[in-house]
Amino acid sequence: MSKNRFVLNLAWELKNLFRFPFPEVLLGLFTFMVFLPRLSVFAGTLILSDLSWQEITRQAAYVSAQRASFYSVSAYLPMAILGSIFATLAFAYEIENGLLKVHLSHPAGKRTIYLSKWLSCFLIIFTTLSCALLFFAFLYIPQNDLYLIVNFDLAPGILLLAALEAFFVVSVTVSFSIFSRKASVSLVGSFAALYIVQLLSGTSGMTFLPPTSFDLQARSMFSPHSISFPRFYAFPDFLIVPIASAVLTITSYIYFSKGLELA
């Protein structure tokens, strides 16, 4: 029985992107984040014997949420590097050396090809980021007794945070890659764009930009008084990044399917 072309293309794209030593890249990223400073900020001050089990769980959730929030900011630049590499490999490199022309000469629509490429980049970034955030939120707390106390109610919120960050990184890098059409420009340019956004987000009045916005979103989502599924207190600010990401994705898709010429 013949497979769906989109699934076939997605598998092909993932295989193409994994031609590089991806486990080593992941190991490097984890090492980078493990040795980040401020690890003990959110832990180590609790005296468990004074607390009820309910309170311990609440405190554990609070620590986990704080750590997820902290690492969503710390992971931004490593994700930007990964995003730039994968978007460049999936789009600009293939446009530049003629692989995309050969790819489009098979019976698959431009939409199928764009979506499979985009989704393969997204899946890699999202999987990496969500694994890292879940790991640091729940498992890597070696300084105190809260180690391995997992509050699963936080997991959907953390996955949503990872999805939003991956969506932003992929939409910027893919757009840059398609519009630049050159691998070298795409690689340097898309990372530079994300880096500039990070610098701007550190300035006052621009906190709606990533990665500061992810930190704020995480803090509002994981309110210490509620460990249930995210509560969007800062709703208008919360929408800015996803809307910007969606606009970039739609624009790059329209250009890819209508305007891109493969000489």
């Binding site: 013949s2 497979k3 072309r5 076939l8 293309n9 092909w12 295989k15 193409n16 031609r19 050396n97 003629g98 692989l99 022309k101 050969v102 489009l104 000469s105 098979h106 019976p107 698959a108 629509g109 431009k110 305007g259 010429e261 493969l262 000489a263």
Partner: protein, 313 residues
């Protein structure tokens, strides 16, 4: 476009096609139809052959005009066209990190073929890839990569195979082999081919129809036999000891062209009777010493040069 019994008679129909790259006009109001069989798309480098192919495949947007393949619009119904067309691009770029088998299997699955393994074996055999299919594409020579590109184009027995410079990178034996395969596939399996090349002598062996492009315009197109019949100029190969004196002795009304090639003079003759009289006259007066005079068969190159000459006139 002509239809009979629900089937399109013309494979490709191009109407007033213009393509500009900035100030450069790569195609200038090209109109043509491509019928079934093997069609040669010929012209010098920069004539617009590859641009025409890319427009047909919907890879680039025409500035003006329309193109249809199997009756489908190249821009709007690209996927439907690609279901029925196989393509070999000029200097094809292939994923170097997979084996030839993995790549061909992917293409076969994209074309939704039932017997993927069987089809990979079939095209590998046709293109002389047996024994190489399990090697990484990155280790292939340029010639082997070209053969793999051809195998890619032939997978799934497409109704039309578009080949852009199919014999580039191949050695003489490889060129001969590939052209023979094309002829066989056309005759035995009814596959139609559109072959773009600037090496005219190659196409003579395989083509039924010819489209001649130059500087973005169609100089002429039609069946090869018709074009041969249309060619009013006869070619003669003349070997004389005094080629310059011989050429000077010919009148412009009698010959259209005369050029020295090696130890011979190739003469395009308009009026054969008058030409013979002039040659006889030069021999009698002792102006030339003739060692050989024979009629040459008209080649595709002759048709091409004649088409260029007519356009210039």
């Amino acid at each position: 476009m002509a239809r009979r019994g629900g089937r399109y008679l013309s494979l490709i129909c191009v109407a007033k096609l213009t393509k500009r790259y900035g100030r450069i006009e790569a195609l200038r109001g090209v109109s043509l139809t491509v019928e079934k069989g093997v069609t040669g798309l010929i012209g010098p480098n920069g004539a617009g052959k590859s641009t025409l192919i890319k427009v047909l495949l919907g890879l680039i947007k025409p500035t003006r005009g329309k193109t249809r393949v199997f009756g489908f619009d190249s821009r709007k119904q690209r996927s439907k066209i690609m279901e029925r067309v196989g393509v070999l691009h000029e200097k094809p770029s292939l994923p170097s990190w997979v084996t030839a088998r993995q790549y061909l299997e992917y293409v076969a699955q994209m074309k939704r073929l039932e017997n993927v393994d069987g089809e990979v074996e079939r095209v590998s055999e046709i293109c002389g890839l047996v024994g190489y299919v399990d090697r990484k594409i990155g280790t292939f020579s340029a010639g082997m990569a070209q053969r793999l590109g051809l195998a890619d184009a032939l997978i799934g027995r497409p109704e039309l195979v578009i080949l852009d410079e199919p014999t580039a990178n191949l050695d003489p034996l490889g060129r001969y082999d590939v052209l023979n395969r094309i002829r066989q596939l056309s005759e035995r399996e009814g596959i139609n081919f559109l072959i773009s090349t600037h090496i005219l002598s190659e196409l003579e062996r395989v083509c039924d129809n010819v489209v001649i492009l130059n500087e973005g315009s169609v100089l002429t197109y039609g069946s090869f036999k018709e074009l041969l019949a249309e060619d009013s100029v006869q070619r003669y190969i003349v070997k004389v000891e005094e080629p310059e004196t011989f050429i000077q002795g010919l009148s412009k009304k009698t010959v259209s062209s005369a050029e020295v090639k090696g130890d011979s003079v190739i003469v395009g003759v308009i009026d054969e009777v008058q030409f013979m009289k002039e040659v006889n006259g030069m021999i009698r007066t002792g102006g030339i010493t003739l060692t050989e005079l024979k009629r040459s068969t008209v080649s595709l190159e002759d048709i091409f040069i004649e088409a260029l000459r007519r356009k210039a006139a």
